[in-house]
């Protein structure tokens, strides 16, 4: 059977560059965090940090930052311009969301990559907002004087550090859930690489996630 394109090329390019950039930013961010921990009992082990010392961690973080930000902005512009977000992430009403959360809790939530379910839509919109918030707070941590106009969103240098940390935490939580869901429904993985899947509807598309 002829396969159809379900993930446009730019979405796939964005996605995998983003995954690499995010991992780099988190691991180098932990290195930076360790130089002055926000929470006394929380220090990241050397084995999961990147950059070898604070200076190296900063170099990685502020290099990967460009990859992360440019990639994300291209995705957002194209996602809006091509109607990708409108088609795949919307409509998203509370009714559909509660219905799908309830279904998911009973392991009865159907999944197909052509048409994201409401839980997925909420997750994807949510993670994009979290990434933007992490970006904005990062700008204030980086340039608290020059970007003080952003302080009404994330506060001053000291509070922006907490917002930035919270963003990292939410991204980590997202990755755990997201990757776990891919492990549960591994048939979604190949299309995220090749872009193609069997046409919808298909038996395998309506399996239980």
């Amino acid at each position: 059977m002829q396969k159809v394109l379900i993930h446009p090329l730019y979405v796939r390019i964005f996605h995998w560059i983003n995954a690499a950039a995010i991992v780099t930013m988190i691991m180098s961010g932990w290195q930076i965090y360790n130089a002055s921990p926000l929470f006394e009992s929380l220090i990241f082990p050397d084995s999961v940090t990147l950059g070898d010392w604070l200076g190296g961690g900063i170099q990685w973080h502020l290099a990967a930052m460009w990859v992360f930000v440019v990639n994300l902005l291209i995705y957002l512009v194209l996602g809006i311009a091509t109607g990708h977000f409108r088609e795949k992430f919307f409509p998203l009403g509370p009714k559909a969301l509660f219905h799908d959360i309830w279904a998911a809790m009973r392991f009865k939530l159907g999944h197909n990559s052509h048409d994201y379910n409401a839980v997925q839509k909420a997750f994807y919109i949510g993670i994009i907002l979290v990434m933007l918030m992490t970006f904005v707070s990062g700008l204030v941590v980086w340039k608290s004087v020059q970007f003080q106009a952003l302080s009404w969103i994330v506060g001053n240098y000291a509070t922006a550090r907490y917002v930035h940390f919270a963003g990292m935490t939410l991204i980590c939580a997202f990755i755990i859930v997201h990757v776990a869901l891919v492990a549960i429904v591994p048939s979604t993985l190949i299309p995220m690489i090749t872009g193609k899947a069997k046409p919808f509807p298909e038996k395998e598309n309506s399996h239980v996630a």
Binding site: I17, S28, A35, S36, D52, G56, L62, A63, K143, Q146
Partner: protein
């Protein structure tokens, strides 16, 4: 300027640490992001120096971006009230407090070199006789902690003009009694909140905070605020810095 007292271990010997950890570490780092990112950059995963040169190039690129941002926004740092001042205010340097240089006022003269018309050295008394400017601002350390302090002294822009410095020169470089050194871009040196601080909280700047004087520049990270200044050079050569030469970003604006 750099070290939080209880985390000094971590930063005292960055190079040593780097060497020591280089094989043991990075495994995860390499496997995951290093590989992934350097793939994008088209470089060999196993090639450390290539990765380092990309990181160095990015750091220089970030210098340029910061210079552009600074030129475009040119904000004043937020000022605070007496009640906001951090007490006790931390000592911080690449050595412990008892190693802080003990500069004596008698015999001390601030040297001026490079592209400066009037190179006559300055005594503290002469500097105190100039108009003084005070500020309560946030000192942000590259490590991530920040504290609020009060400094007063001579406007650095006024001082540079007074001594006939060539303000078209690119850099102002500092040499300190503790062998510390750093270089600032001229635009930041001329910022209205950059001062040659002679006091801390209305008292003569104590030894632990940089006697006889410290450059207080709230639009830069702490390590760009040299203490125990012995000489100032106006120059078109980048003289680097104690931490900058080890890998901290050169511009390090806030």
């Amino acid at each position: 300027m750099l070290l939080k007292p209880n985390s000094s271990q971590k930063l005292l010997l960055p190079r040593t640490k780097q060497v020591k950890n280089i094989e043991r570490r990075f495994f995860m780092g390499r496997a995951l992001s290093f590989g992934a990112l350097s793939m994008l950059a088209g470089c060999n995963v196993a090639d450390d120096s290539k990765a380092q040169s990309i990181l160095d190039a990015m750091s220089r690129w970030n210098d340029g971006v910061q210079e552009a941002i600074f030129g475009a926004t040119n904000q004043l740092a937020t000022t605070y009230t007496e009640a906001d001042i951090t007490d006790p205010f931390p000592f911080n340097a690449y050595y412990s407090e008892d190693k802080a240089p003990d500069v004596k006022e008698e015999g001390y003269k601030l040297e001026l070199t490079g592209l400066v018309d009037k190179k006559a050295p300055w005594t503290l008394a002469a500097l105190r006789a100039l108009p003084q400017q005070s500020q309560i601002t946030r000192h942000i350390c590259v490590e991530g902690w920040s504290v609020i302090g009060k400094w007063a002294g001579v406007s650095f822009a006024d001082f540079l003009h007074m001594v006939g410095a060539d303000t078209k020169a690119k850099y102002v470089a500092f040499k300190c009694a503790d062998d510390y050194y750093t270089t600032l871009d001229m635009a930041s040196a001329l910022h209205p909140q950059t001062i040659l601080a002679l006091t801390f909280r209305d008292q003569v700047l104590p030894r632990k905070y940089g006697f006889p004087m410290k450059l207080r520049i709230p639009i830069k990270l702490g390590f760009k605020n040299p203490k125990h200044i012995m000489s100032i050079e106006v120059t078109n050569e980048d003289r680097g810095g104690y931490w900058e030469d080890q890998g901290y970003n050169w511009f390090s604006g806030t």
